[in-house]
Symmetry: C2
Subunit: 218 residues, 2 copies
């Protein structure tokens, strides 16, 4: 039995559980997103800004994925939304089974939006469907315009691209239009939202998109 | 045969080839570093600054690792140093065997410093020894002070920490002393160099360290 065969079996098993998660979300009218990026792109900061703006408008819960620590779950818990932390203890991505387990610890009644924040990794989470409606990839302006070309699978499998830290554009050598262009070269269907979780710039457009998707689903 | 057993076999096989690489470097008087970080932390930019400063002082060659594209090798080649690009085609880390293969395409006669730039990933490359003398981890100020706590294996296995993008400190919410403290909590032996590959600030101290290590080795 080769390693490649085992990898395929792992992915097939993952896809099977992801399908079950997806059916559950659809049955319950939950819009689920899988938030992915490199470490430090600002996934948690963006999420905090969304919770600040949306927690009185729609019912949200959060699953946090991290290699170690529950620091992110602590940050999210301050906004009084239900949150479960998955610590992978070295694992480089979330899997559908981990999300399935986490769901047993959440009361999903009435929930409209589930945000699953994945492990900070632009490679491995790309191939693991969690059952989400949309994969949302974050890239920050400090990372450079070439990232979609260098990590294409993630950008190909995502539906939405959030370009974070636009407040830093005057201080970094990032060509925003080249970044857009490179992303659309890999995936012409990407919806793109430039924003800054620090200043709040662009956050309203992204939050409105989330509300629209979460409400029309019910 | 379980997946865990196979993983252990892969790591054991990797360590065996890494040992052979290491012996080869030591026999030839080559100081080899394994440069690791999240995507977009500035590994290639730091390397370009080093080449600019060091190529007339010591003999350097480079192995570039990327998931896709040879963009980084093109950048390095401009400095007239021998460079080999490894494209992992989806693979999330370099392995000792890939480095061993790359070495067959390099003329190592007289080489004093070999820089192996790993795939941008703060998780998976942590466990794969390539035969380097030192693992050098880069974190940028834009990524936040919590990264050593959230990705501890990489910081535990590294000997040197480069804190890049210190020019952005006035514009980001990164507490430099907290970042240092978190890194030293995980690994008290880390040598730390704060620098900016953009402005050149701090680059001399880091380059002098590289020269010292590369020259004393011969």
């Amino acid at each position: 039995m080769s390693v490649i065969t085992i990898e395929r079996q792992i992915l097939e098993k993952n896809d099977e559980i992801a399908r079950a998660n997806r059916e559950r979300f659809e049955r319950s009218g939950i819009f689920a997103i899988n938030l992915v990026s490199a470490p430090g792109s600002g996934k948690t900061r963006i999420l905090e800004q969304c919770l600040e703006r949306l927690k009185s408008r729609i019912r949200i819960c959060v699953i946090e994925g991290d290699v170690q620590t529950d620091l992110d779950a602590q940050r999210v818990a301050r906004y009084d939304v239900p949150v479960v932390q998955i610590v992978t203890r070295g694992g480089c991505h979330l899997e559908a089974r981990l999300v399935q387990d986490a769901l047993t610890r959440l009361d999903l009644a009435g929930v409209q939006l589930l945000v699953i924040e994945n492990v900070g990794n632009l490679v491995c989470p790309a191939n693991y469907d969690l059952g989400e409606a949309k994969k949302v990839v974050v890239v920050s302006t400090t990372e450079g315009a070439d990232k979609p070309l260098k990590y294409p699978t993630m950008f190909r499998n995502a539906s939405v691209l959030l370009i974070n830290k636009i407040d830093l554009l005057p201080y970094v050598d990032c060509d925003l239009s080249a970044l857009r262009e490179n992303a659309l070269k890999i995936n012409p269907d990407l919806e793109i939202f430039p924003l800054s979780a620090r200043t709040g710039d662009g956050m309203d457009a992204w939050c409105n998109w989330l509300v629209e998707k979460s409400v029309t689903r019910r």
